[in-house]
Protein backbone atom coordinates (compact mmCIF):
# COMPACT_ATOMS: atom_id res chain seq x y z
CA UNK A 1 0.00 0.00 0.00
CA UNK A 2 2.91 2.31 0.73
CA UNK A 3 3.67 2.70 -2.99
CA UNK A 4 0.19 3.93 -3.85
CA UNK A 5 -0.23 7.65 -4.53
CA UNK A 6 -2.25 9.74 -2.09
CA UNK A 7 -5.07 10.17 -4.59
CA UNK A 8 -5.66 6.42 -4.86
CA UNK A 9 -5.50 6.01 -1.10
CA UNK A 10 -8.01 8.80 -0.64
CA UNK A 11 -10.42 7.32 -3.15
CA UNK A 12 -10.28 3.95 -1.45
CA UNK A 13 -10.47 5.45 2.02
CA UNK A 14 -13.63 7.23 0.87
CA UNK A 15 -15.27 3.85 0.40
CA UNK A 16 -14.86 3.15 4.08
CA UNK A 17 -11.68 1.10 3.90
CA UNK A 18 -10.06 2.25 7.05
CA UNK A 19 -6.64 0.80 6.27
CA UNK A 20 -6.21 3.30 3.44
CA UNK A 21 -7.16 6.16 5.70
CA UNK A 22 -4.62 4.85 8.19
CA UNK A 23 -1.91 5.10 5.55
CA UNK A 24 -2.92 8.69 4.74
CA UNK A 25 -2.81 9.46 8.43
CA UNK A 26 0.72 8.07 8.67
CA UNK A 27 1.83 10.19 5.72
CA UNK A 28 0.32 13.46 6.89
CA UNK A 29 0.27 13.26 10.66
CA UNK A 30 3.40 15.35 11.25
CA UNK A 31 2.48 17.92 8.64
CA UNK A 32 -1.04 18.42 9.94
CA UNK A 33 0.11 18.43 13.54
CA UNK A 34 2.69 21.11 12.73
CA UNK A 35 0.02 23.24 11.06
CA UNK A 36 -2.28 22.79 14.04
CA UNK A 37 0.51 23.57 16.44
CA UNK A 38 1.25 26.87 14.73
CA UNK A 39 -2.42 27.75 14.45
CA UNK A 40 -3.24 26.74 18.01
CA UNK A 41 -0.04 27.94 19.62
CA UNK A 42 0.25 25.15 22.16
CA UNK A 43 0.72 21.41 22.17
CA UNK A 44 -2.42 20.52 24.03
CA UNK A 45 -4.78 22.25 21.62
CA UNK A 46 -2.65 21.12 18.69
CA UNK A 47 -3.33 17.51 19.57
CA UNK A 48 -7.08 18.05 19.80
CA UNK A 49 -7.13 20.10 16.64
CA UNK A 50 -5.15 17.50 14.71
CA UNK A 51 -7.67 14.91 15.73
CA UNK A 52 -10.52 17.16 14.65
CA UNK A 53 -8.78 17.88 11.34
CA UNK A 54 -8.40 14.21 10.47
CA UNK A 55 -11.98 13.49 11.45
CA UNK A 56 -13.10 16.25 9.07
CA UNK A 57 -10.86 14.87 6.35
CA UNK A 58 -12.38 11.44 6.82
CA UNK A 59 -15.91 12.81 6.76
CA UNK A 60 -15.27 14.84 3.64
CA UNK A 61 -13.35 12.23 1.66
CA UNK A 62 -16.52 11.49 -0.28
CA UNK A 63 -16.38 14.99 -1.74
CA UNK A 64 -12.74 14.75 -2.76
CA UNK A 65 -12.19 14.65 -6.50
CA UNK A 66 -9.42 12.11 -7.02
CA UNK A 67 -8.53 13.65 -10.36
CA UNK A 68 -7.05 16.60 -8.50
CA UNK A 69 -3.98 16.49 -6.26
CA UNK A 70 -4.71 15.36 -2.75
CA UNK A 71 -2.29 17.55 -0.77
CA UNK A 72 -3.89 20.93 -1.56
CA UNK A 73 -7.32 19.50 -0.77
CA UNK A 74 -6.08 18.14 2.54
CA UNK A 75 -4.42 21.44 3.40
CA UNK A 76 -7.62 23.30 2.59
CA UNK A 77 -9.76 21.06 4.79
CA UNK A 78 -7.31 21.02 7.68
CA UNK A 79 -6.41 24.69 7.64
CA UNK A 80 -10.05 25.73 7.36
CA UNK A 81 -10.81 23.48 10.30
CA UNK A 82 -8.06 25.23 12.25
CA UNK A 83 -9.49 28.64 11.38
CA UNK A 84 -12.91 27.56 12.63
CA UNK A 85 -11.44 26.12 15.80
CA UNK A 86 -9.39 29.25 16.41
CA UNK A 87 -12.47 31.41 15.98
CA UNK A 88 -14.47 29.22 18.30
CA UNK A 89 -11.75 29.39 20.90
CA UNK A 90 -11.57 33.17 20.61
CA UNK A 91 -15.28 33.36 21.17
CA UNK A 92 -15.01 31.13 24.22
CA UNK A 93 -12.24 33.08 25.79
CA UNK A 94 -12.38 36.80 25.63
CA UNK A 95 -8.68 37.06 26.34
CA UNK A 96 -6.56 34.30 24.90
CA UNK A 97 -2.83 34.04 25.19
CA UNK A 98 -2.23 30.76 23.51
CA UNK A 99 1.20 29.37 23.03
CA UNK A 100 2.74 31.58 25.61
CA UNK A 101 4.29 30.34 28.77
CA UNK A 102 2.71 31.74 31.87
CA UNK A 103 4.51 34.54 33.65
CA UNK A 104 5.64 32.11 36.30
CA UNK A 105 7.00 29.74 33.71
CA UNK A 106 8.81 32.55 31.99
CA UNK A 107 10.31 33.80 35.22
CA UNK A 108 11.51 30.37 36.19
CA UNK A 109 13.11 29.67 32.82
CA UNK A 110 14.61 33.07 32.15
CA UNK A 111 17.71 32.34 34.14
CA UNK A 112 18.26 28.96 32.55
CA UNK A 113 20.38 29.26 29.41
CA UNK A 114 19.46 25.77 28.34
CA UNK A 115 15.83 26.76 28.07
CA UNK A 116 16.21 30.26 26.79
CA UNK A 117 18.56 30.08 23.88
CA UNK A 118 18.48 32.93 21.47
CA UNK A 119 16.75 30.81 18.87
CA UNK A 120 14.03 29.85 21.28
CA UNK A 121 13.43 33.45 22.20
CA UNK A 122 13.07 34.39 18.58
CA UNK A 123 10.73 31.49 17.84
CA UNK A 124 8.70 32.33 20.90
CA UNK A 125 8.43 35.95 19.87
CA UNK A 126 7.34 35.02 16.39
CA UNK A 127 4.76 32.63 17.77
CA UNK A 128 3.45 35.43 19.97
CA UNK A 129 3.31 37.75 17.00
CA UNK A 130 1.44 35.12 14.99
CA UNK A 131 -1.16 34.98 17.71
CA UNK A 132 -1.98 38.61 17.15
CA UNK A 133 -3.07 37.93 13.56
CA UNK A 134 -6.64 37.02 12.74
CA UNK A 135 -7.16 33.28 12.19
CA UNK A 136 -7.66 33.76 8.47
CA UNK A 137 -4.48 35.77 7.97
CA UNK A 138 -2.59 33.42 10.27
CA UNK A 139 -3.78 30.48 8.19
CA UNK A 140 -2.50 32.11 5.01
CA UNK A 141 0.84 33.04 6.49
CA UNK A 142 1.50 29.67 8.10
CA UNK A 143 0.58 27.75 4.97
CA UNK A 144 2.86 29.98 2.96
CA UNK A 145 5.79 29.83 5.33
CA UNK A 146 5.51 26.27 6.53
CA UNK A 147 4.29 24.36 3.52
CA UNK A 148 6.56 26.10 1.08
CA UNK A 149 3.69 26.63 -1.35
CA UNK A 150 3.94 29.03 -4.24
CA UNK A 151 1.45 31.87 -4.17
CA UNK A 152 -0.42 30.22 -7.01
CA UNK A 153 -0.67 26.95 -5.07
CA UNK A 154 -1.65 28.85 -1.97
CA UNK A 155 -4.42 30.55 -3.91
CA UNK A 156 -5.70 27.13 -5.02
CA UNK A 157 -5.68 25.84 -1.47
CA UNK A 158 -7.50 28.86 -0.09
CA UNK A 159 -9.73 29.36 -3.07
CA UNK A 160 -8.76 33.02 -3.52
CA UNK A 161 -7.07 34.80 -6.43
CA UNK A 162 -3.33 35.24 -6.60
CA UNK A 163 -3.24 39.03 -5.90
CA UNK A 164 -5.40 38.52 -2.80
CA UNK A 165 -3.08 35.86 -1.46
CA UNK A 166 0.10 37.85 -1.99
CA UNK A 167 -1.48 40.98 -0.52
CA UNK A 168 -2.65 39.03 2.51
CA UNK A 169 0.79 37.55 3.11
CA UNK A 170 2.45 40.89 2.60
CA UNK A 171 0.17 42.62 5.08
CA UNK A 172 0.83 39.87 7.59
CA UNK A 173 4.59 40.15 7.12
CA UNK A 174 4.43 43.91 7.63
CA UNK A 175 2.42 43.32 10.78
CA UNK A 176 4.94 40.81 12.10
CA UNK A 177 7.82 43.10 11.27
CA UNK A 178 6.20 45.92 13.17
CA UNK A 179 5.84 43.72 16.19
CA UNK A 180 9.27 42.18 16.05
CA UNK A 181 11.60 44.89 14.81
CA UNK A 182 12.47 47.97 16.87
CA UNK A 183 10.88 51.06 15.32
CA UNK A 184 14.19 52.65 14.34
CA UNK A 185 15.23 49.59 12.31
CA UNK A 186 12.12 49.42 10.17
CA UNK A 187 12.07 50.62 6.61
CA UNK A 188 9.03 52.76 6.04
CA UNK A 189 7.27 51.66 2.88
Amino acid sequence: MSHLPDEVLARRAATGKIEYFEELLARYRVRVYRLCYRMAGNAEDAEDWTQECFVRVYQQLGRYNAERPFTPWLLRVTSNTCVNLARARSRRESRVQVGLATEEEQASSQGDPLHRTLANVETQEIQEALETLSPLVRQTLILWAQEDLTFRELGDVLGVPLPTVSARVQRALVHLRERLLPREKRVKP
Partner: protein, 283 residues
Protein backbone atom coordinates in the same frame (compact mmCIF):
# COMPACT_ATOMS: atom_id res chain seq x y z
CA UNK B 1 6.10 53.42 -12.27
CA UNK B 2 5.65 54.26 -8.62
CA UNK B 3 6.91 52.60 -5.44
CA UNK B 4 3.51 51.24 -4.52
CA UNK B 5 3.28 49.26 -7.75
CA UNK B 6 6.65 47.69 -6.95
CA UNK B 7 5.90 47.09 -3.28
CA UNK B 8 2.61 45.35 -4.08
CA UNK B 9 4.56 42.81 -6.10
CA UNK B 10 7.62 42.39 -3.94
CA UNK B 11 6.72 39.00 -2.48
CA UNK B 12 5.77 37.66 -5.90
CA UNK B 13 9.10 38.96 -7.17
CA UNK B 14 10.99 37.28 -4.33
CA UNK B 15 9.13 34.05 -5.03
CA UNK B 16 10.03 34.33 -8.71
CA UNK B 17 6.35 34.20 -9.61
CA UNK B 18 6.19 37.30 -11.76
CA UNK B 19 6.18 37.35 -15.50
CA UNK B 20 9.47 38.37 -17.11
CA UNK B 21 8.36 41.84 -18.11
CA UNK B 22 7.04 42.71 -14.65
CA UNK B 23 10.15 41.31 -12.99
CA UNK B 24 12.33 43.41 -15.29
CA UNK B 25 10.40 46.55 -14.39
CA UNK B 26 10.92 45.83 -10.71
CA UNK B 27 14.65 45.26 -11.16
CA UNK B 28 14.88 48.52 -13.03
CA UNK B 29 13.06 50.34 -10.24
CA UNK B 30 15.15 48.76 -7.48
CA UNK B 31 18.30 50.00 -9.13
CA UNK B 32 17.09 53.55 -8.70
CA UNK B 33 15.02 53.43 -5.48
CA UNK B 34 16.89 52.84 -2.25
CA UNK B 35 13.74 52.69 -0.12
CA UNK B 36 12.23 49.90 -2.15
CA UNK B 37 15.55 48.06 -2.30
CA UNK B 38 15.83 48.21 1.50
CA UNK B 39 12.23 47.10 1.87
CA UNK B 40 12.86 44.16 -0.41
CA UNK B 41 15.77 43.11 1.78
CA UNK B 42 13.57 43.43 4.82
CA UNK B 43 10.81 41.30 3.31
CA UNK B 44 13.30 38.63 2.36
CA UNK B 45 14.73 38.64 5.86
CA UNK B 46 11.28 38.50 7.47
CA UNK B 47 10.29 35.65 5.21
CA UNK B 48 13.43 33.65 6.06
CA UNK B 49 13.07 34.31 9.77
CA UNK B 50 9.45 33.28 9.74
CA UNK B 51 10.19 30.13 7.78
CA UNK B 52 12.99 29.14 10.13
CA UNK B 53 10.73 29.69 13.10
CA UNK B 54 7.66 27.82 11.88
CA UNK B 55 9.67 24.95 10.52
CA UNK B 56 11.22 24.06 13.84
CA UNK B 57 10.36 20.44 14.33
CA UNK B 58 7.39 19.68 16.45
CA UNK B 59 6.33 16.08 16.70
CA UNK B 60 2.87 14.78 17.48
CA UNK B 61 2.55 12.43 20.43
CA UNK B 62 2.75 8.76 19.54
CA UNK B 63 -0.74 8.11 20.88
CA UNK B 64 -2.36 10.54 18.46
CA UNK B 65 -2.88 8.09 15.59
CA UNK B 66 -4.68 5.60 17.78
CA UNK B 67 -6.99 8.31 19.10
CA UNK B 68 -7.80 9.52 15.61
CA UNK B 69 -8.52 6.04 14.27
CA UNK B 70 -10.64 5.26 17.29
CA UNK B 71 -12.66 8.43 16.76
CA UNK B 72 -13.07 7.87 13.05
CA UNK B 73 -14.23 4.30 13.51
CA UNK B 74 -16.77 5.40 16.09
CA UNK B 75 -18.33 7.92 13.72
CA UNK B 76 -21.96 7.32 12.78
CA UNK B 77 -22.48 5.81 9.39
CA UNK B 78 -22.79 8.12 6.47
CA UNK B 79 -26.23 8.63 5.04
CA UNK B 80 -26.97 6.58 2.03
CA UNK B 81 -26.91 8.38 -1.25
CA UNK B 82 -29.47 8.00 -3.97
CA UNK B 83 -27.62 5.67 -6.24
CA UNK B 84 -27.28 1.96 -5.95
CA UNK B 85 -24.71 -0.01 -7.89
CA UNK B 86 -25.58 -3.45 -8.99
CA UNK B 87 -23.49 -6.25 -7.51
CA UNK B 88 -22.34 -7.44 -10.86
CA UNK B 89 -18.87 -8.79 -11.34
CA UNK B 90 -18.63 -7.68 -14.93
CA UNK B 91 -17.76 -3.99 -15.13
CA UNK B 92 -18.90 -3.59 -18.71
CA UNK B 93 -22.21 -5.18 -17.94
CA UNK B 94 -22.67 -2.93 -14.94
CA UNK B 95 -21.89 0.10 -17.01
CA UNK B 96 -24.36 -0.94 -19.68
CA UNK B 97 -27.03 -1.57 -17.12
CA UNK B 98 -26.40 1.60 -15.15
CA UNK B 99 -26.35 3.69 -18.30
CA UNK B 100 -29.56 2.11 -19.50
CA UNK B 101 -31.20 2.50 -16.13
CA UNK B 102 -30.13 6.14 -15.87
CA UNK B 103 -31.56 6.82 -19.28
CA UNK B 104 -34.76 5.05 -18.34
CA UNK B 105 -35.05 7.01 -15.15
CA UNK B 106 -34.44 10.30 -16.88
CA UNK B 107 -36.96 9.62 -19.59
CA UNK B 108 -39.39 8.25 -17.07
CA UNK B 109 -38.98 11.19 -14.79
CA UNK B 110 -39.48 13.69 -17.57
CA UNK B 111 -42.45 11.83 -18.90
CA UNK B 112 -43.97 11.30 -15.47
CA UNK B 113 -43.31 14.84 -14.42
CA UNK B 114 -44.99 16.30 -17.45
CA UNK B 115 -47.97 14.01 -17.76
CA UNK B 116 -48.90 13.07 -14.23
CA UNK B 117 -49.43 14.96 -11.03
CA UNK B 118 -46.76 14.61 -8.41
CA UNK B 119 -47.39 12.62 -5.30
CA UNK B 120 -50.40 13.65 -3.24
CA UNK B 121 -49.91 16.54 -0.88
CA UNK B 122 -50.69 14.53 2.24
CA UNK B 123 -46.99 13.84 2.81
CA UNK B 124 -44.89 14.51 5.81
CA UNK B 125 -42.94 17.71 5.87
CA UNK B 126 -39.71 15.88 5.25
CA UNK B 127 -41.11 14.27 2.14
CA UNK B 128 -42.24 17.63 0.84
CA UNK B 129 -38.68 18.93 0.97
CA UNK B 130 -37.38 16.12 -1.19
CA UNK B 131 -37.68 15.73 -4.92
CA UNK B 132 -40.58 13.42 -5.62
CA UNK B 133 -40.77 10.65 -8.13
CA UNK B 134 -43.89 8.92 -9.21
CA UNK B 135 -42.43 5.48 -9.48
CA UNK B 136 -45.54 3.92 -10.90
CA UNK B 137 -45.34 6.43 -13.71
CA UNK B 138 -41.67 5.62 -14.14
CA UNK B 139 -42.40 1.93 -14.43
CA UNK B 140 -45.07 2.58 -17.04
CA UNK B 141 -42.81 4.92 -18.92
CA UNK B 142 -40.09 2.28 -19.04
CA UNK B 143 -42.44 0.08 -20.94
CA UNK B 144 -43.40 2.93 -23.24
CA UNK B 145 -39.76 3.71 -23.81
CA UNK B 146 -38.89 0.08 -24.38
CA UNK B 147 -41.65 -0.34 -26.93
CA UNK B 148 -40.34 2.63 -28.86
CA UNK B 149 -36.71 1.61 -28.95
CA UNK B 150 -34.91 -0.19 -31.67
CA UNK B 151 -35.04 -3.35 -29.63
CA UNK B 152 -38.79 -3.30 -30.19
CA UNK B 153 -39.41 -4.62 -26.70
CA UNK B 154 -43.17 -4.89 -26.63
CA UNK B 155 -43.69 -5.56 -22.98
CA UNK B 156 -42.16 -5.82 -19.56
CA UNK B 157 -41.01 -9.35 -20.23
CA UNK B 158 -38.96 -8.20 -23.18
CA UNK B 159 -37.51 -5.37 -21.14
CA UNK B 160 -36.41 -7.85 -18.50
CA UNK B 161 -34.84 -10.02 -21.12
CA UNK B 162 -33.00 -7.06 -22.54
CA UNK B 163 -31.74 -6.10 -19.11
CA UNK B 164 -30.63 -9.66 -18.49
CA UNK B 165 -28.73 -9.71 -21.73
CA UNK B 166 -27.11 -6.35 -21.08
CA UNK B 167 -26.20 -7.03 -17.49
CA UNK B 168 -25.23 -10.65 -17.73
CA UNK B 169 -27.49 -11.33 -14.75
CA UNK B 170 -30.51 -13.52 -14.88
CA UNK B 171 -33.03 -10.81 -14.22
CA UNK B 172 -36.39 -12.30 -13.42
CA UNK B 173 -38.49 -9.24 -12.66
CA UNK B 174 -38.27 -5.51 -12.47
CA UNK B 175 -40.58 -3.38 -10.41
CA UNK B 176 -40.77 0.20 -9.38
CA UNK B 177 -43.01 0.88 -6.46
CA UNK B 178 -43.62 3.47 -3.90
CA UNK B 179 -43.53 2.72 -0.21
CA UNK B 180 -42.87 -0.93 -0.67
CA UNK B 181 -40.77 -3.41 -2.49
CA UNK B 182 -41.84 -6.80 -3.59
CA UNK B 183 -39.52 -9.68 -3.02
CA UNK B 184 -38.94 -12.27 -5.62
CA UNK B 185 -41.32 -14.67 -3.95
CA UNK B 186 -44.06 -12.09 -4.00
CA UNK B 187 -43.85 -10.89 -0.40
CA UNK B 188 -44.25 -7.16 0.13
CA UNK B 189 -41.85 -5.29 2.35
CA UNK B 190 -43.04 -1.89 3.46
CA UNK B 191 -40.41 0.80 3.22
CA UNK B 192 -42.23 3.58 5.06
CA UNK B 193 -42.73 6.01 2.20
CA UNK B 194 -39.37 5.33 0.67
CA UNK B 195 -39.64 5.09 -3.10
CA UNK B 196 -37.89 1.98 -4.28
CA UNK B 197 -37.12 0.21 -7.48
CA UNK B 198 -36.36 -3.46 -7.33
CA UNK B 199 -34.64 -5.85 -9.60
CA UNK B 200 -35.01 -9.55 -9.00
CA UNK B 201 -32.49 -12.01 -10.19
CA UNK B 202 -31.02 -15.35 -9.41
CA UNK B 203 -27.60 -15.59 -7.94
CA UNK B 204 -26.38 -19.12 -8.30
CA UNK B 205 -29.86 -20.38 -7.70
CA UNK B 206 -30.54 -18.01 -4.79
CA UNK B 207 -33.32 -15.53 -5.46
CA UNK B 208 -31.97 -12.11 -4.63
CA UNK B 209 -33.72 -8.78 -4.60
CA UNK B 210 -31.66 -5.74 -5.30
CA UNK B 211 -33.35 -2.55 -4.25
CA UNK B 212 -32.66 0.96 -5.36
CA UNK B 213 -34.11 3.31 -2.82
CA UNK B 214 -34.09 7.02 -2.33
CA UNK B 215 -31.20 6.83 0.05
CA UNK B 216 -31.65 10.28 1.50
CA UNK B 217 -34.81 8.97 3.05
CA UNK B 218 -33.44 5.57 3.88
CA UNK B 219 -32.28 5.90 7.45
CA UNK B 220 -31.25 2.44 8.52
CA UNK B 221 -33.03 1.58 11.76
CA UNK B 222 -30.87 1.39 14.81
CA UNK B 223 -31.92 -2.20 15.27
CA UNK B 224 -29.67 -3.20 12.41
CA UNK B 225 -26.79 -5.27 13.58
CA UNK B 226 -23.27 -4.41 12.50
CA UNK B 227 -20.95 -7.02 11.08
CA UNK B 228 -17.43 -6.38 9.93
CA UNK B 229 -15.28 -8.01 7.34
CA UNK B 230 -11.77 -6.72 6.65
CA UNK B 231 -12.64 -3.39 8.23
CA UNK B 232 -15.79 -2.96 6.16
CA UNK B 233 -19.04 -2.45 8.01
CA UNK B 234 -22.25 -4.19 6.97
CA UNK B 235 -25.64 -3.56 8.48
CA UNK B 236 -27.69 -6.70 8.74
CA UNK B 237 -31.31 -7.24 9.61
CA UNK B 238 -33.07 -10.55 9.89
CA UNK B 239 -36.83 -10.52 10.15
CA UNK B 240 -38.68 -13.79 9.95
CA UNK B 241 -36.85 -15.63 7.21
CA UNK B 242 -35.87 -12.47 5.37
CA UNK B 243 -32.33 -11.14 5.59
CA UNK B 244 -31.39 -7.62 4.57
CA UNK B 245 -27.83 -6.36 4.24
CA UNK B 246 -26.88 -2.77 3.59
CA UNK B 247 -23.48 -1.28 3.03
CA UNK B 248 -21.81 1.71 1.45
CA UNK B 249 -19.19 1.78 -1.24
CA UNK B 250 -18.13 5.37 -1.72
CA UNK B 251 -21.19 7.14 -2.95
CA UNK B 252 -22.89 3.91 -3.87
CA UNK B 253 -25.36 2.13 -1.72
CA UNK B 254 -26.06 -1.58 -1.76
CA UNK B 255 -29.08 -3.31 -0.38
CA UNK B 256 -29.28 -7.07 -0.68
CA UNK B 257 -32.36 -8.98 0.38
CA UNK B 258 -33.11 -12.65 0.23
CA UNK B 259 -34.94 -15.34 2.08
CA UNK B 260 -31.74 -16.96 3.21
CA UNK B 261 -29.94 -17.03 6.52
CA UNK B 262 -27.79 -14.01 7.55
CA UNK B 263 -24.50 -15.97 7.23
CA UNK B 264 -25.43 -16.99 3.68
CA UNK B 265 -26.27 -13.47 2.58
CA UNK B 266 -23.30 -12.06 4.49
CA UNK B 267 -21.06 -14.42 2.55
CA UNK B 268 -22.62 -13.16 -0.67
CA UNK B 269 -22.13 -9.53 0.36
CA UNK B 270 -18.46 -10.19 1.18
CA UNK B 271 -18.00 -11.82 -2.20
CA UNK B 272 -19.64 -8.87 -3.90
CA UNK B 273 -17.26 -6.50 -2.11
CA UNK B 274 -14.25 -8.59 -3.01
CA UNK B 275 -15.31 -8.66 -6.66
CA UNK B 276 -15.85 -4.92 -6.70
CA UNK B 277 -12.49 -4.27 -5.08
CA UNK B 278 -10.82 -6.49 -7.61
CA UNK B 279 -12.61 -4.76 -10.45
CA UNK B 280 -11.65 -1.36 -9.04
CA UNK B 281 -8.00 -2.36 -8.67
CA UNK B 282 -7.98 -3.69 -12.21
CA UNK B 283 -9.66 -0.54 -13.49
Amino acid sequence: MNCKWVQDRMLLYLADELEGREAARIVSHLERCEVCAALLEEFAESRDTLRDAVRTTVQPPASLDAHILETVQALPRRRFPWTVRLPDWNKKSVLSLVTGAALLLLIGFLWGHSSRPLLPANRTEIMAERPMFDLAALADSHLVWASNTATQAPDKKMLIENLSRQSGLRVTAIEMKENALRLKDGAILQMKQVPVATLHYDWKGTPVTLAQADGMRLAPPTTLREMRDHGRCFLIQHTGDLTTILWCEGTDNFVLMARVSPPQLFALACQVCAKLQKAEAAG
